[in-house]
């Protein structure tokens, strides 16, 4: 990638919550999170464990495939680590090793939160080995090509989180998309 200087045009769509007062003028709703007071000023910490731990790759696969079975196709089977080169009508290409692939339904899921970089240090020299075949992840440009979970006739779900509830959220969103596919399209499906 040649890094480049570009002007950003995107504008964020959020703002401070409005202070809401009741009839007596008492504040009943104010800013909701600690972020507003912590940055660039003194912040009194409240140490503690995160309330939930991330899950490992095997557990993520269990969650994803479990959701497919419970909400979409009870008998669906996914092949693991399948090398695919997908091209769409305009010639754009996505080249990936799918973490999960079902050829019949053309469904792919990719766990982009899990990858590995191994660094070894010996005698003053660092050696990097990364992105081995089973840890292949979608490239940034490839993710941009996937519009609404779809590319080149395939249905692709990018699971970018390693937290159970975010994984569930993403897979639910994908299943919703899949269920809403136009039944007259080339890729029509019958869902459970």
């Amino acid at each position: 990638m040649a890094f480049s200087i570009k002007k950003e045009t995107r504008k964020p769509q959020y703002s401070l919550p409005i202070v809401v007062r009741n009839r007596r003028g008492k504040i009943v709703k104010i800013l909701t999170t600690a972020v507003l007071v912590s940055s660039l000023s003194n912040c009194m910490p409240e140490a503690g464990l995160p309330y939930i731990e991330p899950v490992d790759r095997n557990r993520a696969i269990e969650i994803v495939e479990g959701k497919f079975k419970s909400d979409l196709f009870a008998d669906i089977v996914f092949q693991r680590d399948v090398k695919l080169v997908i091209q769409d009508a305009s010639g754009d290409v996505i080249d990936l090793i799918a973490d999960g692939y079902n050829a019949e339904k053309k469904i792919i899921y990719e766990l982009t939160a899990y990858y590995n970089v191994k660094t070894t240090y010996y005698n003053g020299v660092y050696t990097k080995n990364y992105l081995d075949p089973t840890n292949d992840i979608l490239m940034d440009e490839e993710i941009d090509l996937i519009k609404n979970n779809s590319f080149g006739g395939y249905h692709i779900c990018d699971i970018y989180s390693d937290y159970e509830d975010t994984i569930s959220y993403l897979i639910n969103k994908f299943i919703q998309y899949y269920k809403n596919l136009d039944s007259t399209s080339d890729f029509s499906v019958s869902t459970k």
Partner: protein
């Protein structure tokens, strides 16, 4: 006003990404020179009618000379008692002792602890001159450091970036909750590393959102600074970079520089803006002020310029391009990517639907 005092140019570590310009000509400040610097700081604070003095002790590794630090703190407090002080130490954490930690607590000193994460991430770059990793030297102290007043400073490099989000989680689990992280912008970044960095930011964003939505207190500069600048219409340049205006850094010889990255022992260095003996070079100070008055040409009309390090941080511009007016394409790319991730958090936390 904010001041940085280089206690020594010496360091007991030989970190792979160290940017010290004083490495080959390392010196240590005498206690007399440190007192001269303190007198100068009091003088300019008085002149500017500023009753708040924030001093960060820097290096090299300042805890190589802890007695100089605490003697100087005593000197400030006793001789210039009319000021309010906030002291901080930037340290690699390898030289802590019971006595040092007691003094840190006694004087309410903030710690900026340079640690890159779990043992693998940390030891990848933060090594002793003999080649051994430094993690094991610091680890025993992590449980006893006062977490209320410690910022963990993490450098993300190409050779440890896949550990980044886990590293922050590791520190959080130990009780730390204030983090200042930055990529080593001068490392050899390529497209694959950039994608991994983006994924690490996304994973950390997920973790951060989770804590924020549970009202846990956490500060991660990467997200908080971007969010707050948008929410409060702040300009990052005004909030965090005040080179030549509200922050001055002193070399061991009492030379004055705009910020930490610029410190050198060379009086003829173009960024040397004065000395404690002769005061400020007004022409150079004026030139620095110009930095604050206009945007870089490449940044005008950019929607994130007021919260972008490339547009706002003099140290980043200097270290990546050698110029204050320079803009590195990698920094620009990185900041656009990070700001988008921060805005995704903002949209979840502050969208009107909530």
């Amino acid at each position: 006003m904010k001041f940085v005092i280089n206690i020594t140019d010496l360091c007991n570590l030989n970190c792979a990404y160290c940017y010290r310009l004083t490495k080959d000509n390392a010196k240590t400040a005498t206690i007399d020179k440190l007192k001269e610097i303190a007198d100068f700081i009091a003088k300019i604070s008085q002149k500017r009618e500023d009753k708040n003095i924030a001093v960060t002790f820097f290096g090299g590794e300042p805890l190589l000379y802890p007695e100089n630090i605490f003697t100087l703190i005593d000197y400030f407090i006793s001789k210039y008692s009319e000021y309010s002080y906030k002291f901080a130490i930037n340290t690699n954490g390898t030289l802590f002792s019971k006595e040092i930690l007691e003094n840190i607590d006694k004087y309410g000193v903030t710690l900026y602890l340079s640690m890159d994460g779990t043992i693998n991430a940390h030891d990848a770059n933060r090594r002793f001159y003999g080649g051994g990793g430094s993690f094991d030297k610091i680890e025993p102290f992590l449980s006893v450091i006062n977490k209320n007043d410690t910022y963990v400073e993490t450098v993300i490099s190409c050779n440890n970036l896949s550990e980044f989000s886990n590293s922050i989680k590791y520190f959080y689990n130990l009780g730390f909750n204030k983090f200042i992280a930055s990529p080593n912008f001068t490392d050899g970044w390529d497209d694959k590393n950039f994608i991994i960095l983006k994924n690490e930011y996304k994973k950390l964003a997920d973790f951060y959102y989770r804590l924020q939505s549970k009202k846990k207190e956490i500060y991660i500069n990467l997200f908080d600074d971007k969010l707050n600048c948008h929410l409060f219409k702040w300009k990052l340049k005004e909030k965090s970079c005040s080179i030549g205006q509200n922050i001055f850094a002193f070399s061991v010889d009492g030379l004055i520089f705009p910020c930490t990255r610029f410190i050198s022992n060379d009086r003829d260095n173009e960024f040397c803006i004065g000395s404690v003996e002769n005061g400020f070079d007004s022409k150079k100070l004026d030139a620095l002020n110009a930095y604050h008055t206009k945007d870089k040409a490449e940044c005008s009309d950019c929607s994130i310029k007021d919260r972008c390090l490339g547009a706002s941080c003099g140290c980043v511009s200097f270290s990546t391009t050698g110029r204050l007016s320079g803009l590195s394409p990698f920094v620009c790319e990185c900041e656009r990517m990070l700001t988008k991730i921060a805005d995704n958090i903002g949209e979840k936390l502050y969208s009107k639907k909530r």
